[in-house]
Subunit: 573 residues, 2 copies
């Protein structure tokens, strides 16, 4: 059976960094060559990064991307990588418009280029806004084997380009992807990729990017399946990784020479005819186990935060430490992402702050080794409250806002990125102060429901214990009842339902897009539903003003949900 | 020639307010009946409001909209309007998915419903995200005349549904629209509507909504053109208006009975066969002149602000008055939108504030009659600067942020909507303080370049003089050089190029999506381009955190431009 050594380059590009991303492709191709690979596959739009959003509509960027692709082909040849065919995604721009494209580079030139056929336009994707779909299938012969390609969404379509490749006849399909992480998505990908391999009648090589880009994080999870859908190899999540695999390719696909198959125009090009001489397989990378849920979410949050900070040029982060669970988890994430020395925690007690708010914050700092300081806000608050005559909610909010101004002052003075430490549950119901605790450049746990925040804290502490390290999060921050401490004796439970119940309703309402009647049928109390839904529907403006944060759910605020601010619609009313 | 009296109901719905919008349809249909009209046409999705954004994906909302449509048909009959056919847009939801739909109501029931064919997915439109396209053309016979319909984008397509209607044979086309305002758009609509009337071989009745919805404002500009494209009637912009017109309908279209025309399924239904008996025409509404540019922009800004405040339940607005041109124009807009008694201006001098900042603000208040107070911020600023040891930019920003906290405190205490008074030029280059002058629920001049702010001020003052009123904006606010007054002697010109030049570059870069090389060719200085483009590219995060504000341009920040925050792409570099 024909043999082939294939390299999957699971890399982390930066949007817009054409030179840097091209250098990444050269560097990782060189590694593939050193490993003796016969071909290497990079993710979707690796040269431009993904998603480029409205940069796709700027002609100068499209031209620059095309030029960078041509230069990359030359650079690869100059780096001694001219003999290995390289599949790499990029932004094309032709007479018809911008294209989500992938090219095959070989011998210093672009030998093939295919445009994505199916443009996703839901959830985080707006590709019909940006790209014109393609109609070609570019099949490249390498070592006598016919290799077709399918870009990301094209493998999610039953009877789409993959079926076309099957009918055209290919021995192998390679698929460059930029598939964002969300919880349990890896459970969906494998059966999908397996189905498509069977549909194509050929093994399938699935390469996904890793790393954070604004609120998206990509988990990698690159894999190879056999023609029968068997999983042959799987790369670890959330790390850059070169996976090299020696494969036996069944080959012998019934190749048609028709120029049109189904609705596709088939273009064939030959890079090399001679089969690889038989050799002893060396690379059998095996199947990396998907991470357990908490570990996977934690890795996503760490990756999202690290890349947001580093790709935006920040070397340090600053956040308020309240002694509560949210800021404790954000601090622990920051330490894992950037190291304790890059993390600045500030306790900002007011006259209503409890003693434990300070002691728990100090305890966290000691456990994690982050920089710690105290900036009492009583003097600032008094100025506003006294001069403006503020009472009630207005007085509560001023406290949160003096903390926001304090953190921004420290950020401006010292160059730290401010982290907003709010969770998804608060954001959903509007339980936060705009320009107060919502201040920040990034919100690490923006998409994490409160109940999951607790689970993550317990999991992270347990991991530390397993490793013989000090658990980062003070036990008291985990067990004490949550409070915003903006007035004497205030508890979250004064304003909000029990968090277990609240998160259950929110999950149905937001993730499930279920309405009032469905929630009633699901057995929730009508008054509870009414109360929660009203809070959610009223909070859209606040949510829009919140900083970006890593998306881990199917429907993350800001990224996937776009509700009118001015809306009189009330569920159940 | 057959006669017909047609009513165009140019109304202002509220998104999500099914009951309120239905009541509006009944009320305006009754007016149409009182005027003796034979049919009445409402805007696109009048029953739900437009745009509904992700509400389209909530099944409960889709079901509620369908149910509200059925109830509306009954309510119309009960109100004595059962005999007049009513075209009204709504959100449908069938087995295939959500639909942008328009129905014909008559005799207490829904007699026809058509789904929009062409779903715009650019600029402010994301309709491919939300709706499934239709394939039917529903033609309704009224008084013996065949009346086809085309929803909004369907009339923007050459050879689309309108051509299908032409081939199917219709005597009249009615078109419900939700076409947002942008500068000079009325110059595009008329020739378009005229072309489509000729393509259909029938007169065309174009009905557009009015009013503000989040950052969009709809200008109305409803019109009727004859079969040869002649403009017969045009409604005034930015006001609710019932335009009733007596028309001679050429009629006698060659009607095919084919059930399929081109790719469309044609469904015909008869409401009434008997022609209208000959009568003496009474209604010849004439052609409302489009407003001159400044008046049109001013009306758009007033409408957008008024509806944002009122539809969100605010009775009053509060803003900082700096003595500068931006806050002066925002105050004048607020007075025109809501009345002087609903407007609260606060002067918030710091130690760096000039005498004229206070005297010009007080002068504005006196001219306009808005509530005026002074809240010096020196004490607050000193607390932060002293305690945190802030210098330079950090110290400058604290001043802006103490003003933000002050306005939010007054808002929380008294229930005012805070207005952010920044202009588009500042927003483009990031010349603002996040959580400082960017604080607010709405930003009236967010999409107005600085040079246009001055023009509008002069225009508004001139209008006042024409009417024998006191010009609202102090001459000194117009003529003095702009300054943020955050440090001694600071001038905008220290940080920014001359505004005339800056706005020229920004217009090419943002509205025109031109790149570095194009700007060089346009004759701008390379250093200037480089400086401006770097400022713009760096400011995406700040722009995202800015409040919504009325869109008046082709490309408004926040609404039309979606750039990655993490992006290494630099134009010209």
């Amino acid at each position: 059976m024909p043999q082939l050594r294939i390299a999957l380059a699971q890399v982390n590009p930066t949007v817009g960094d054409l030179a840097g991303n091209a250098a990444t492709v050269v560097e990782w191709t060189r590694k593939a060559v050193e490993a003796g690979a016969h071909l290497v596959v990079f993710p979707e739009m690796v040269l431009t990064g993904y998603p480029v959003e409205d940069l796709a509509m700027r002609a100068s960027f499209g031209h620059a991307s095309r030029a960078a692709l041509d230069s990359l082909a030359v650079a690869l040849a100059e780096a001694g990588c001219g003999d290995i065919p390289v599949w790499a995604g990029y932004l094309d721009l032709d007479d018809v418009g911008p294209r989500n494209a992938a090219a095959v580079l070989h011998g210093g030139t672009v030998v093939a280029r295919q445009y994505k056929h199916h443009l996703p336009n839901f959830g985080v994707f707006d590709e019909r806004r940006y790209f014109v779909p393609g109609q070609n299938l570019d099949i490249v012969k390498v070592r006598g084997l016919e290799i077709g390609m399918a870009i990301c969404e094209d493998i999610w379509q039953e009877g789409g380009p993959i079926a076309g490749l099957g009918r055209a006849g290919v021995d192998l399909v390679v698929s460059p992807n930029a598939s964002p992480y969300e919880r349990d998505k890896d459970d969906i990908r494998l059966p999908l990729v397996a189905r498509r391999a069977r549909e194509a009648g050929a093994p399938l090589v699935y390469v996904n990017q890793v790393g954070g880009q604004d609120d998206l994080v990509f988990d990698g999870d690159s894999m190879v399946v056999g023609v029968d859908g068997t999983l042959l190899a799987r790369a670890p999540q959330f790390v850059e990784h070169l996976m090299v695999i020696d494969m036996d390719i069944p080959g012998g696909a019934t190749r048609t020479d028709a120029e049109v198959v189904d609705t596709f125009t088939v273009r064939r090009v030959t890079v090399s005819e001679d089969p690889v001489p038989g050799y002893e397989p060396q690379h059998s990378p095996g199947v990396a186990e998907p991470l357990p849920d908490e570990a996977e979410v934690w890795s996503a949050l760490v990756t999202g935060l690290r890349d947001y900070a580093q790709k935006n040029g920040f070397r340090s982060v600053v956040m308020g430490l309240s002694g509560g669970i949210d800021s404790a988890v954000c601090a622990a994430l920051s330490v894992d992402a950037l190291g304790a020395d890059a993390v600045y925690g500030v306790s900002m007690p007011s006259v209503y702050s409890s003693d434990h708010s300070r002691s728990d914050a100090a305890d966290l700092a000691e456990r994690t080794g982050v920089h710690y300081s105290e900036q009492p806000i009583a003097g600032m608050v008094e100025q506003f409250v006294g001069q403006l005559g503020l009472t009630g909610l207005a007085e509560e909010n001023v406290q949160a806002r003096c903390r926001g101004v304090t953190l921004m002052g420290l950020s401006n003075q010292h160059g730290h990125l401010v982290l907003a430490t709010g969770n998804k549950t608060e954001l959903a119901v509007g339980y936060s102060t705009i320009y107060g605790d919502a201040v920040g450049g990034f919100a690490p746990i923006k998409d994490v429901p409160k109940t999951l925040v607790w689970e993550l804290a317990k999991w992270r502490n347990a991991e530390a214990e397993k490793r013989g390290e000090v658990p980062p999060i003070p036990e008291n921050s985990i067990v004490k009842p949550p409070s915003a401490e903006l007035r004497p004796g205030q508890m979250d439970s004064d304003s909000l339902p029990d968090y277990e119940l609240l998160d259950a309703v929110l999950d149905d309402y937001i993730e499930g897009d279920r309405g009032y009647d469905d929630l009633i049928k699901a057995g929730f109390d009508p008054e509870l539903i009414d109360r929660v839904l009203r809070m959610v529907d009223r909070a859209e403006y606040k949510r829009r003003q919140y900083p970006p944060g890593t998306k881990i759910s199917f429907k993350a605020f800001g990224r996937d949900r776009r509700l009118p601010i001015t809306s009189a619609w009330r569920e159940g009313s």
